[in-house]
């Protein structure tokens, strides 16, 4: 089947490349470690030119052979590749944003091999305290493709978890929680890590206990206060070294969800989670403890979103329904 589009989900730590056919169906997919902070460094010839630019090298490795076969395939990319540290800085679009406004704001960088790479802008929210995202907006658009509800809350757990409120196809509000990164720095660099041991299996009871603490009176005092209970419960003999990491994980995710609930309209929306399975399972478990209803999981969000944006930009033609 003839390819229609090359779609790149190009983040900080990884680069995922998709060859998409009619209607956005995935013909081939690749995953490379060449995130923008881990670019190739070994120079080589590209299109007759000696090249040492890491973005060019990664791009060529990801889809050079696809372009050799079909040189005029359009290329679209989302994620940190458009950041100030990326290939070519792509200005944020202000929220609210939808597939049309974002698809019409693609930023073009001409690659050494002659192909134009169309970079999706991130979204900046200026009301209240500032917020930004790059890449998640594309995943959100990919999720929307298969939804029927008008109002939905989309959670993208990770180092910097995003929770995106969508109304009638439009991103109206989003929040960022530094949950994953905070977990990692506390484990690796704080006193809490010193008494922890990694367990072989998920410590469900410890995780649930952490979530429950955030729902208790102690939880109302906030994360800075409950964090120390990881250590104190250890000293009190109530939490083993192997239980402490999942207890801490439960605390952090519980506080994230409490924060989410502080926005009063979140409990009545359908919730869709996008992310890796293990992490989404934790969130599902915590969402259930916190009384959030209607949680579903989305798949292939980035590649679907990139297709939608390419359609909106006129790079590809949508499938005509019979």
């Amino acid at each position: 089947m003839q390819a229609q589009l090359i779609a790149l989900d190009w983040g900080t730590t990884s680069l995922r490349a998709y060859k998409l056919g009619p209607g956005g169906q995935v013909l081939e997919r690749r995953s490379l470690a060449s995130g923008i902070m881990h670019l190739p460094t070994e120079a080589r010839m590209i299109n007759g030119v000696h090249c040492s630019n890491g973005f060019e090298l990664a791009f060529d490795a990801a889809c050079g052979d696809w372009l050799d076969t079909q040189p005029h395939l359009p290329v679209i990319a989302c994620g940190m590749v458009g950041s100030a540290q990326g290939w070519s800085e792509t200005a944020y679009r202000d929220s609210p944003a939808d597939v049309t406004t974002l698809g019409q704001a693609l930023h073009v960088v001409r690659s050494l091999r002659g192909s134009d790479v169309h970079i999706v802008p991130g979204v900046m929210q200026r009301d209240g305290v500032a917020n930004v995202m790059r890449g998640e907006e594309t995943q959100v658009l990919g999720v929307l493709q298969s939804l029927t509800a008008d109002d939905v809350l989309i959670g993208l757990p990770g180092s910097h978890s995003k929770w995106v409120e969508v109304s009638r196809g439009c991103i109206t509000h989003f929040d960022t929680f530094m949950t994953g990164e905070l977990f990692a720095v506390l484990r690796d660099h704080s006193i809490l890590g010193r008494t922890q041991k990694t367990a072989d299996t998920f410590q469900a009871a410890a995780f649930d206990r952490g979530v429950q603490v955030t729902l208790s009176a102690d939880g109302k005092m906030g994360l800075l206060s409950t964090l120390f209970s990881t250590r104190a419960l250890g000293l009190a003999g109530e939490l083993s070294p192997e239980e402490q990491p999942d207890y801490l994980s439960g605390l952090l995710i519980g506080h994230e969800l409490s924060g989410l609930r502080a926005r009063n309209n979140t409990q009545h929306r359908d919730i869709v989670l996008v992310g890796n399975n293990a992490l989404c399972s934790r969130y599902q478990r915590a969402l259930q403890s916190c009384g959030f209803p209607h949680v579903t999981l989305a798949r292939e969000a980035a590649e679907r979103g990139l297709w939608q944006l390419a359609v909106a930009a006129g790079l590809v033609q949508p499938l005509l329904e019979a």
Copy 2:
């Protein structure tokens, strides 16, 4: 004037030694870097014995000459020296605790030079989620000596800030906030540190802005959410690299005080702060922004508390009032 007591405030990073005279007046004070994580390592002779024990070496360096002059001076010590990583583990006393219960629970370790060192137990709180302190209980008792109010809230800002509720001389409740340590790990190990520069002077407006965010609707979503605003405001051009550290400091301290306020009885108490001047100034500023009244600063809290405990333990005689 004849000394009555050697008092040691022996924490993780420092060791402060006091020679106290009648009534607990300070005759001499010393500060050594020999906290329990930074003990001397060079072995030498103590009392005719070749010694390589870091605690013995630090103890000898801190007050060996005082004991040479007055070999029978009693010695009392508080802080992490009584922890599992300390000289001799001293079991926590459960809260509530006061000068009598703590003074009667001193743990004795016989030093190589023959002096008994009386170690003050820390306090463990078992109601709600567990909590512990070591050293702060002594500072609290030292503060109480000069207070007239029955109910007081004592704040000890630091790596692990403690807020201790005292009623009629008794420690009834306390909370720990990992504010200082979190600030350090976020600056040194998270993405937030990458865009920060250290400023030459205190960035008051940025600090106040951070505090204000915690009081706003955004602040209700909690620390995990507001943290990211440090980066987002930078990307939005609203916060310079030099302003970001003090903004982050304001965020963290603001969330600590919001947590404190979530305990409903804190706003009607007198507040006393104990700690280094620069840090207490930040807290005073934030407390004012958050509407806490009646904030005063305490001095010489540890040495006063150690004296009070030595009196309660019968190690020294109180001054008889005329």
